[in-house]
Symmetry: C2
Subunit: 329 residues, 2 copies
């Protein structure tokens, strides 16, 4: 019997274990054009928090008492479609479960790029593409820029640090705690690190970027975004990827330095990875090159067992991960 995590109630603020339940599910019959997949790797991502609210957004809300969805990589175990055979590795959106029966059109066969299959949930997947297009397109970052990235120890942030260094930028990364900063974010290549638990970010950023910043890659919002406003140089560009600070917040965000948008002619640009799907070929070309050269390395936090999926997801909000958080089944 297959099992899938269900959303049982909508979280108010930070999600908790009792918002979720692991239930047996009935899989559809393996009809014409259908494929049975055994999931090997599940992705948990901060954007999923948004889908747990019952509000219209860029992706529809998760239904209650129904299986959750998310990126997953698995192996074909049975196929009734000529394009897939047992043993094929595939990427699909039926995560949060151990097994799925899906139409062939919902599956993407993993290309042979000489990388581990789970890379397609990380640096070669949504995570890496988000970092790549956010940094290089939404923020128009270029060689020589001073780049500040928040949540630099997280999945997207750690990719941003590595891409920015591969492109010849100066990088300041913020993360939670001295250990993650010095032990992890520096190892990614960051020139300066900010432990945001050590004091006001607006002061730490002044010390880390005495000349100010040209680019801010925002994963956090709140105080981080305000500090970026405070230290932006003329014509700075901000890519707004996420605001994890706000996903569970019930209070509005307060900004003391937002008026600098005017004097510094700051550009703030929100973006979503899916906007760039037509341009994925550029991304695969560059990212595969960086992975092959070692400029970008996988930096995963692996949690074992389907049962641990909600804990892995909740860990995103307490900074339990370094790099990409994955569940291995």
């Amino acid at each position: 019997m297959a099992r899938a995590w269900h959303l049982m109630s909508r979280p108010n603020g930070l999600p908790a274990a009792d918002n979720f339940a692991l239930k047996d599910i009935e899989l559809p019959a393996l009809g014409e054009g259908m494929v049975r997949v055994a999931n090997r790797w599940l992705s948990v991502d901060p954007y999923m928090r948004g889908r747990m609210n019952d509000v219209k957004s860029y992706v529809p809300p998760f239904a209650l008492d129904a299986p959750l969805e998310g990126g997953a990589v698995g192996e074909v175990v049975e196929s009734n479609d000529p394009n897939f055979k047992p043993g094929d590795w595939v990427l699909h959106m039926a995560g949060w479960r151990d097994e799925a029966v899906l139409p062939a059109a919902a599956l993407n066969k993993l290309p042979d790029l000489g990388v581990e299959p789970q890379a397609f949930l990380g640096n070669l997947g949504l995570t890496g593409a988000t970092a790549y297009f956010g940094l290089l397109d939404a923020a128009s970052a270029k060689e020589g820029d001073i780049v500040f990235v928040s949540a630099a120890g997280g999945a997207v942030g750690s990719a941003v640090v590595q891409i920015a260094k591969a492109k010849g930028m100066t990088v300041i990364g913020s993360a939670r705690g001295a250990e993650k900063c010095d032990g992890f974010v520096r190892s990614l290549g960051a020139d300066e690190v900010i432990d945001y638990t050590a004091g006001p970010i607006v002061k730490s950023l002044a010390a880390a970027a005495p000349k100010g910043i040209d680019v801010y890659f925002d994963n956090v919002g709140g105080d981080h975004l305000d500090a970026a406003f405070a230290h932006a140089r003329l014509r700075a560009r901000f890519a707004i990827c996420g605001m994890i600070h706000g996903y569970n917040a019930t209070e509005p965000m307060a900004f003391r330095y937002i008026m600098r948008v005017i004097g510094m002619r700051i550009r703030v640009q929100g973006f979503i990875y899916t906007d760039y799907i037509p341009r994925l070929a550029e991304f695969y070309r560059d990212m595969a090159g960086w992975i092959a050269s070692g400029a970008v390395k996988p930096r995963d936090t692996i949690v074992e067992g389907l049962e641990q999926t909600p804990d892995a997801f909740l860990g995103l909000f307490s900074g339990a991960n370094t790099g990409k958080m994955l569940v291995k089944i």
Copy 2:
């Protein structure tokens, strides 16, 4: 004896009459290349508030116990420069006073466009150019867009309303009080008006723009900007011209809807009129045409007498003006 308003102390929050003093000034001798100008019209503008703080910004702070500066239009009364003769009308930055002796290089002779000289402080000056480039360049507004402009009864806002209508856009303008909204902003051509004193702007904007907005021209910040975040459509563009809400504020601005930047891929762009000086020819061409056709009309609030200059300036922050606030000497 010439007289000039001096800044005597830096305002903390809202400026007050006792921050200013009108004092006799010694004018320089009319040396080679110098011109004596009798000011006829003085401009007071919200951006001047920023220069009253002792902080580094895009324009340097005003010095204490020294004459204030600002846009002015005057008549040449005596000239020691071959390019200027008595009776010439000129635009210059030695406002807040009745008379000035200036080097010829500091004067711009008013071209003959068949308009009143004070238009060069309004629709054909900083005010009109700010509206024009902010709307059409910083916000990339185009025919068919739904445009929300705050402080639509003010100098820049009233020009934005008229330019947007001349370009075939739908316009929603906010202003203070039913009279200014219905009596003035509608007369500019706005399709919908919002009296921001009548209730939360986020609700009024929902009613005025049931399909949402494509463009927000911000003169205000605060609740107005938050409402624009709340009702922005996909790929909305915000031009941030000013945040009068914040100029005198000591508390940070709070935003409840800023996270919509991500889902709606909003672009927020700060700008300043001086960025567009190389492109003023475009502006003069279009604006002179609109003035000639009556599409853009002067909408001035005129205060008489040099003595009234600080009151005229203070009136900007209580919405005492409709259209451009000018001091006539």
